[in-house]
Amino acid sequence: MTISREDIEKVALLARIRVNDQQVTELEKDLGNILNLVDQLQSADTENVKPMAHPLDAIQRLRPDEVTESNQREAFQAIAPATEAGLYLVPKVID
């Protein structure tokens, strides 16, 4: 399986990673090789096999609806790149 430059550009955009032409060329080769490896999957007969999302067939535990967290804004915002008035700042959000 090969992956096209357009696919790589689309995936990079979905993943929000900037890539330049040179990187796209390298990725074309590397991702292509990885997809070749991965294509072995197609040889497996998986008819009637249920997909497996977790190693153990465990069931989710639910948590009681009790407040366990207190305000730690100061500690969390001390490590934030940009804040003001308790808010995280980002370039203008336009819907």
């Binding site: 990673i17 900037r18 490896l37 294509d39 998986t46 190693p55 203008k92």
Partner: protein, 481 residues
């Protein structure tokens, strides 16, 4: 002092032969003197380690010490440590100081252990050579141009070099076992869900499992005693009793049924490796075990399934690194798109970007069924193979890796050659089973490990099997020159 095991140090502290402050200072000095050669630590906690040591000595004098009180250890820099920088080997988290502890961190803290520092790793635990760390490659103490394995290469190298008696680690596709094999030490990846993942920075959530690296099986058992157990903060943690893993180490192996998967012993296996493993298995026979061949017919599909599932989960797990709330942020973003794309371009290294993109691709419209869903089905086939094999035998044995430690730079040009490093280890993560790597011999002057795989929650049996082997052999006591 640095050649002693955790068990021996624990006894020395208990008898008053040495204090935790002395012990901690000794290891800090060694790190300072020696780690320039290995680059096994990203952050050394000189001040906080000595503070913790003083507290430990105080606690001991008050008579409420645990076996771990005052014992120095190192943490893979993937476990969050309150107040101590946690980088995950990435530029993205170069200056990230979490205001919270991972559950594993909290458990060692509660036991009174002393954290010497944070060890180097492949960026976001994605790698098998420790060469993808933003903080530089780690060197294997067994050879100056050899990789220590990865992703827990810093932890393994630090233990092998005697810079710490023990270190935490994580294993998503072999990241504990392969470095243990390359560095001539003992490592355990527990059953998925045995050790809490809370505060352990996620690579692939359904595969990641915290575990242990130390010289001996006994030390691994002591570590697991601290780390294992149910955590209400991790939905995938299993609520199941934790035995004292040291209590059963001494049990005889008579009647132990060993299976050798024929798919792991083919003509393609390096003869020296095969010979080493067969010699180790013969040692087990001397200890009373029986050996038979078993089959894992879908084993050859494990790498392919893994390289869809792990990158897919990673592609979502790493979306939180967006430059908004913590971590790296590009300078002067002109708009939101620029903030995201440039922050992530600058913050992530090449291998991480490759895996995010592969994962994104495998989940995207039109490819989901052919890749992701197919891989999840193959995952079940792989798991069923192990379940079936483990109905016939108690444990499976194989080489941990196809070869001893390779030379730095040898496998960085093509990611796929690096991925094939995990050919014997990766299926165990898909199945969620526990497995160990135990030093079992030398090939070309370099250590190699024997992999022992057990049924779900059979860590005590694996540790017992490893310990008995270590009573009969001295491979785990060999040290690099």
């Amino acid at each position: 002092m640095h050649n002693k095991s955790v068990a021996e140090l624990s006894r020395a502290l208990a008898s008053g032969e040495v204090s935790s402050v002395e012990l901690t200072q000794h290891f800090l000095d060694r790190i300072k003197q020696e780690d320039g050669k290995y680059n096994s630590f990203i952050t050394v906690c000189e001040d906080s380690a000595l503070d913790e040591a003083r507290l430990a000595d105080e606690r001991r004098s008050q008579g409420n010490a645990t076996p771990w009180t005052g014992i120095p250890f190192a943490q893979k820099d993937i476990f969050c440590t309150n107040g101590v920088r946690t980088t995950c080997g990435s530029r993205m988290l170069e200056n990230f100081i979490p205001p919270y502890d991972a559950t594993v961190t909290a458990r060692f803290r509660d036991a009174g252990a002393v954290c010497l520092g944070k060890t180097n790793l492949d960026e976001f635990a994605m790698g098998s050579s420790n060469e993808s760390s933003h903080f530089g490659a780690t060197t294997n103490p067994w050879g100056e141009n050899r990789v220590p394995g990865g992703s827990s290469g810093g932890s393994a190298a630090a233990v092998a070099a005697g810079l710490t008696p023990a270190a935490t680690a994580t294993d998503t596709g072999g990241s504990i076992r392969q470095p243990a094999s390359f560095c001539g030490i003992t490592g355990l990846k527990p059953t998925y869900g045995r050790v809490s993942r809370y505060g352990m920075i996620a690579y692939a959530s359904s595969l990641d499992q915290g575990g242990t690296l130390a010289r001996s099986a006994e030390d691994n058992a002591m570590m697991l005693n601290i780390m294992a157990g149910f955590d209400p903060k991790d939905s995938t943690s299993i609520d199941r009793e934790v035995p004292d893993y040291t209590a059963t180490l001494g049990e005889p192996l008579k009647g132990l049924k060993i299976g050798l998967p024929k798919e792991y012993f083919t003509d393609q296996l390096d003869p020296a490796m095969a010979q080493t493993i067969r010699t180790a298995v013969a040692e087990y026979e001397k200890l009373g075990a029986t050996v038979k061949e078993v089959s894992l017919p879908n084993a050859h599909l494990a790498i392919a399934a893994y390289y869809v599932i792990a990158p897919a989960e990673a592609s979502a797990n790493l979306s939180r690194f967006d430059g908004v709330r913590y971590g790296h942020r590009c300078s002067d973003p002109k708009d939101l798109m620029d903030l995201y794309t440039r922050t992530r371009e600058e913050g992530f290294g090449e291998e991480v970007k490759r895996r995010i993109m592969i994962g994104t691709y495998a989940l995207s419209a039109g490819y989901f069924d052919a890749y992701f869903l197919k891989a999840q089905k193959v995952r079940r086939l792989v798991q069923q193979d192990f379940v079936n094999a483990l109905k016939e035998v108690d444990v499976l044995m194989s080489p941990t890796c196809p070869s001893p430690a390779f030379v730095q730079g040898e496998k960085t040009s093509d990611p796929v050659t690096m991925y094939l490093e995990d050919i014997f280890t990766i299926a165990i993560n898909l199945a969620g089973l526990p497995a160990m790597s135990v030093p079992a011999g030398m090939v070309n002057g370099l250590p190699v490990g024997l992999q022992i795989i057990g049924d779900y929650f059979s860590e005590a049996r694996l540790l017992n099997a490893a310990h008995q082997f270590q009573l009969a052999t001295d491979w785990h006591q060999r040290k690099p020159a």
